[in-house]
C-alpha cells in the first residue's frame, strides 16, 4: 500500500493550495479495515470496513456508543490485534509489515490504564521510559518532569494500588507520553471520572495538542467529542456513519434553528411567514405556540439579516433564540437512534 507520509515533499507540493495542508500529513490512514471475532453463535463483525484519515496535529475523536467497534479499531491501530482485512498505515508504516516501527512512534492509554498496582507511579514511569530505550538518567529526568507537569508530587512515590481514579488517570496519561510519542491513542480517557478530573484530562490533552502531538481518542460522550476534537468520525455497528469537523457534521445534517417569540394575538406570524418564506437561506418555517421556528443554514450569519428584515416591517419580536444542533442530532439522523439511549442500553 502506498502511503502519503512516505512522500511528504510530494504531498505538500501538490496540496499547497489546499487549506488542509496546514494540518499536516496523514498519520493514520485506513482502508476497508475489518475485524471479525469467532464466537459460539458464529462470526461477529466488530469492525466492518472502516476508512479513516487522521492528519498530523489533529485531535481526532472516534465517537460512538459502547460496542460500536471503537476499541477494536484502536487495538488494531496500536498493533495489539491484527485486522482480519483491509489496510492501514500508522505514522507512515504499514501496520502489518512494520508493527515494530509503528510502536516506536505511538503512545497508548487503554481504558484500564495499565500501571502496575504493586509498584509506585514513578517506578512505572521509569520502566516505561527504559523499554523505549531511555538511559536510567534520562528516564529519571523525564519522570520528574511529568510528575511535576501533571501535579503528581503528592503520590508519585506511593504504590499505584492506593491511587484514586483521577490520580490513576493522570499517571496513565503520563505513561502514554513518557517517550514523547508523535501520535497518542487515548481509549475513553475520561470514562468514569468526576467532572473535575475530567476537565483536568481535557486541559492536558489540549496542552499536548498545543505542543504538536497528534491525538486519537475514543469517546461515547458527545460534549467531549464536540468540545475537544478538531475532527471526528462517528461509528456505529462497526461502520463509520459520518466523518468531519464537529461544526461541519452538525451543519451538514441539521442546519440551525432560530426561534422567534412573536405577538400571537396579531397577524405577526402570517407576516413573518410571508416575509421570509421566499428567502434562499430559509429551509423551513414552522409555527410554534410562542411564534415561529426557522430552519436555516448558518444561523449566526442569517440571524442579523432576519432581524433587520422584520424590523423594517415593524414586526414586534419578543424574544430570539439561536439553537445549534448537537452531535446527538447527527447520530440520530444517521442511525435512527439517540446516542444517549444507545449508551444507556449498553
Amino acid at each position: 500500500m502506498e502511503t502519503l507520509s512516505q512522500f511528504p515533499a510530494a504531498a505538500s507540493a501538490t496540496n499547497s493550495a489546499s487549506p488542509q495542508q496546514s494540518q499536516g500529513k496523514a498519520l493514520i490512514q485506513t482502508k476497508g479495515l475489518v475485524r471479525t471475532f469467532k464466537s459460539r453463535k458464529g462470526t461477529v463483525e466488530a469492525v466492518r470496513g472502516v476508512d479513516l484519515e487522521v492528519r498530523e496535529g489533529e485531535i481526532f475523536g472516534f465517537l460512538g456508543p459502547n460496542g460500536a467497534g471503537k476499541t477494536t479499531t484502536m487495538r488494531i491501530l496500536t498493533t495489539l490485534m491484527p485486522a482480519s482485512g483491509g489496510q492501514a498505515t500508522v505514522c507512515g508504516f504499514d501496520l502489518q509489515r512494520d508493527p515494530g516501527k509503528v510502536r516506536r512512534q505511538i503512545g497508548y492509554v487503554s481504558q484500564v490504564g495499565g500501571a502496575e498496582p504493586m509498584e509506585t507511579g514513578r517506578e512505572n514511569l521509569l520502566l516505561q521510559g527504559r523499554v523505549y530505550g531511555m538511559s536510567a538518567k534520562e528516564a529519571q529526568r523525564r519522570a520528574a518532569e511529568l510528575v511535576e507537569r501533571l501535579d503528581m508530587q503528592d503520590f508519585a512515590d506511593r504504590l499505584v494500588k492506593t491511587y484514586s481514579g483521577g490520580q490513576k488517570r493522570r499517571l496513565d496519561v503520563a505513561l502514554g507520553i513518557m517517550h514523547r510519542p508523535r501520535l497518542l491513542f487515548l481509549d475513553e480517557p475520561t470514562t468514569g471520572l468526576d467532572p473535575q478530573s475530567r476537565a483536568r484530562i481535557w486541559d492536558e490533552v489540549r496542552a499536548l495538542h498545543d505542543q504538536g502531538m497528534t491525538i486519537f481518542l475514543t469517546t461515547h460522550y458527545m460534549d467531549e467529542a464536540d468540545g475537544l476534537c478538531n475532527r471526528l468520525a462517528i461509528i456505529d455497528h462497526g461502520q463509520i456513519v459520518s466523518q468531519g469537523s464537529p461544526e461541519a457534521l452538525k451543519q451538514e445534517i441539521a442546519g440551525d434553528i432560530i426561534s422567534l417569540g412573536l405577538d400571537t394575538q396579531s397577524n405577526a406570524v402570517e407576516q413573518v411567514t410571508s416575509q421570509l418564506r421566499e428567502r434562499p437561506f430559509v429551509r423551513e418555517i414552522q409555527p410554534t405556540p410562542e411564534g415561529v421556528q426557522l430552519y436555516v443554514s448558518q444561523g449566526e450569519t442569517v440571524l442579523p439579516e432576519v432581524l433587520r428584515l422584520l424590523d423594517a416591517q415593524h414586526i414586534a419580536i419578543h424574544s430570539v433564540m439561536l439553537a445549534r444542533p448537537t452531535l446527538d442530532d447527527v447520530f440520530l439522523r444517521r442511525t435512527g437512534r439517540s446516542l444517549r439511549e444507545s449508551n444507556g442500553a449498553a
Binding site: L80, V112, G113, E119, L127, Q128, V131
Partner: protein, 254 residues
C-alpha cells in the same frame, strides 16, 4: 541480543518489586516443602528394605523426588502472576511498546526461578538435618536439572494463563495436568513399586525421567545414561514451553 538482556533485566526488576511486596505468597511457597519433609518423609522410613524400594536411605530417595514435585506443583501455578498483570492492563501496555516479548517471559521467569531455588535450598537444609546425604557434585547438577524442569512448568503455566486469562480457568487446567504428572513420576513412592502398566504409562511423562535422574545424581552417578536422558528430555521441554509462552504473549489480549 543486548536488547533482549536489557529488556529482560528491566522486566525482572519490575516483577521482583511485585513479588517482594507480596511476601505472603513467598511464605506459602516455603511452607509446603517443609511440611512434606517433616510430616510425610518419616513415614517412608519403614518402607526401606521392602522389595522394589531403591537402595539408599529414605531421605536420599524422597528428597530429590520432592524437589521435582516442587518444580511441578509449586511452579505450576506461576501463571497466576501473569493473570494479575493481564487484568491491570500492564501486559497490554507493554505490548504496545517495543519491548521484547521473550524478555517479558524471561523477566517473570527469572523471579519465579529465584523463588524456586530458595525453596530448593530450604529443602536441602531441612533434609541435611534429618539425614539426607547427597553427593555434592550430583546435587549441583541436580539444581540445573531442576531449573530446567521449573522453566518448563512455569512457561506451561504462563501460556495457559495467557490463553485462559482468568484464575479459575488456569487453576482447573493446571490441576488437570499436575496431578497425573506428579503421581506418574514416582515422587511419593518409586515407580519400581508400580505394576507394569503404570510403569509403561509413566514413560510418556517427562518428569518421571527427571525424578529418576534426580535420585541417580544424589547417589553420585552423574555419568549415568538416565541423567543424560533426563537433561535432553527436560531441556527440550523447557525450550518448547518457553517458545509457547512467548508466542502466547505475542497474541495476548484481555
Amino acid at each position: 541480543m543486548a536488547k533482549l538482556l536489557r529488556d529482560s533485566w528491566l522486566m525482572f526488576k519490575s516483577q521482583l518489586n511485585v513479588s517482594r511486596r507480596n511476601p505472603v505468597w513467598v511464605f506459602i511457597g516455603m511452607f509446603q516443602p517443609v511440611c512434606y519433609m517433616l510430616l510425610f518423609a518419616p513415614l517412608l522410613k519403614n518402607l526401606v528394605g521392602v522389595p522394589g524400594f531403591p537402595r539408599g536411605g529414605a531421605y536420599n530417595i524422597f528428597t530429590p523426588g520432592l524437589m521435582v514435585m516442587m518444580a511441578i506443583f509449586g511452579v505450576g501455578f506461576a501463571g497466576f502472576g501473569i493473570i494479575g498483570r493481564l487484568r491491570s492492563g500492564f501486559i497490554e501496555r507493554m505490548r504496545v511498546t517495543p519491548v521484547s516479548r521473550l524478555a517479558m517471559i524471561l523477566g517473570t521467569l527469572g523471579v519465579d526461578m529465584c523463588l524456586f531455588l530458595i525453596q530448593i535450598v530450604l529443602l536441602v537444609a531441612v533434609g541435611l538435618l534429618l539425614g539426607f546425604r547427597p553427593d555434592p557434585g550430583g546435587l549441583a547438577l541436580l539444581a540445573l536439572l531442576l531449573i530446567l524442569a521449573g522453566v518448563s512448568m512455569a512457561c506451561f503455566s504462563y501460556a495457559l494463563a495467557l490463553i485462559f486469562k482468568d484464575e479459575s480457568g488456569l487453576a482447573a487446567s493446571v490441576n488437570l495436568f499436575v496431578l497425573p504428572l506428579m503421581l506418574l513420576s514416582g515422587i511419593m513412592l518409586p515407580l519400581t513399586l508400580a505394576p507394569d502398566i503404570l510403569q509403561n504409562v509413566a514413560k510418556a511423562n517427562p518428569f518421571a525421567y527427571a525424578v529418576d535422574a534426580s535420585r541417580t545424581l544424589v547417589a553420585g552417578n552423574p555419568g549415568d545414561a538416565s541423567v543424560v536422558k533426563a537433561f535432553v528430555i527436560i531441556g527440550v521441554l523447557a525450550l518448547v514451553t518457553t517458545f509457547w509462552a512467548t508466542s502466547s504473549m505475542r497474541k495476548a489480549a484481555m
